[in-house]
Symmetry: C2
Subunit: 187 residues, 2 copies
DNA sequence: ATAACTCTGTACCTTTCGGTACAGCGAGTC
DNA sequence: GACTCGCTGTACCGAAAGGTACAGAGTTAT
């Protein structure tokens, strides 16, 4: 019964290939090379081919964020959950050295094919953060605005860090957004 | 002597294909289809093939921003130049319906190939905006920070607008960033 | 020991990829 | 009318794309 185990092990590796090259750029030959698996094994685990691999990878990323970020934001003490989010995000994106797979897919022509998964990733993130802020005493409108600003800022920081090959941008952006969430609006 | 004229006419069309599908996804067949030009004409204008097309497109985008945004930020009255930037950006990105070609290339595996052009586009934008703020009376450190925040915020907004197929995100982000540049820091 | 089942390598398929070669068209020039 | 010269369509190329077929190895259960 190693099937499930090994399939699960391969997904993060494939994810890295998609992350690095995008959907179109992630050729099967690159995937087989990186994973060390031949086409035989690959199509055994993912009969649907590249499309299924991408879906599995998106689901994997989504699962991680749901578990580590969204759920805590919805259920835990707001302040603690938000601290956890900052730590988790900085860790996940390797302080700007790693790019967001979902964001990369969104800009690609790939978007339409995985539209639902891509949109859901972002809207649920924003909704969860907004809820945490509201539970922390923020006015709903300001909470919604700031939640959107934070998620969008993280994506922008990743684009810029990658574009300029300067990971410090990411750290500065996180710091800026972080202070902004610490001081509730004056309204 | 129609050569230069027509080549110049084709570049924006090719740009749209790259913007929509990314470098890898923009196949020659899609380009011929969209431009209405056969391979013969295409390789007549761009002997270097896809690579040269991408470089021409990047140069075209860069030229537009240099002329319409960066130069005014450096040379004109700061307030007016910044107002012009907001108008120009909203217009250029069609209020979030259009994606940033340079940002898309940055996330792609394409980045390395065009690294210089991609990095320069962003660093010059940030530098120009920072200069305008400093000339407008901002402390240099705060100006640098806010300039980075604005450029990064625009990129993030484009990612999110595209990801959620909700252009309103872009408008809200622009409004937020705009108010932030209107009130100089307290420090 | 054998049967069943999971996994893997190899060979092969069609389509599309980026790119090339080139003959010819049409609008100017002399 | 002949001659450029800029442009275009067509046919073609080898390589790589994504995907399939399948025999067999390795393990596990009986």
């Amino acid at each position: 019964m190693r099937t499930l185990n090994e399939r699960a092990d391969v997904i993060p590796v494939i994810a890295e290939v998609f992350r690095e090259y995008g959907f179109e750029g992630a050729s099967l030959s690159r995937i087989t090379e990186t994973t060390g698996l031949g086409k035989g094994s690959l199509y055994h685990f993912f009969p649907g081919g590249k499309d299924e691999m991408a879906r599995a990878v998106l689901a994997h990323v989504d699962g991680w964020f749901e578990r580590e970020i969204y759920a805590p934001l919805r259920d835990d003490v707001p302040d603690a959950a938000i601290v956890r989010m900052w730590r988790g995000v900085d860790n996940y994106f390797r302080s700007g050295r790693r790019v967001c797979l979902v964001g990369a897919f969104a800009l690609d022509g790939t978007r339409d094919r995985f539209a639902a998964a891509i949109a859901s990733y972002f809207t649920r993130w924003i909704a969860a953060l907004r809820d945490a802020l509201v539970r922390g005493g923020w006015p709903p409108a300001a909470a919604a605005d700031s939640a959107e600003e934070v998620v969008l800022g993280i994506q922008g920081a990743l684009v810029l860090a990658r574009a300029t090959a300067d990971t410090a941008v990411f750290g500065r952006a996180l710091a800026r957004l972080q202070t902004r969430l610490r001081e509730p609006p004056v309204m």
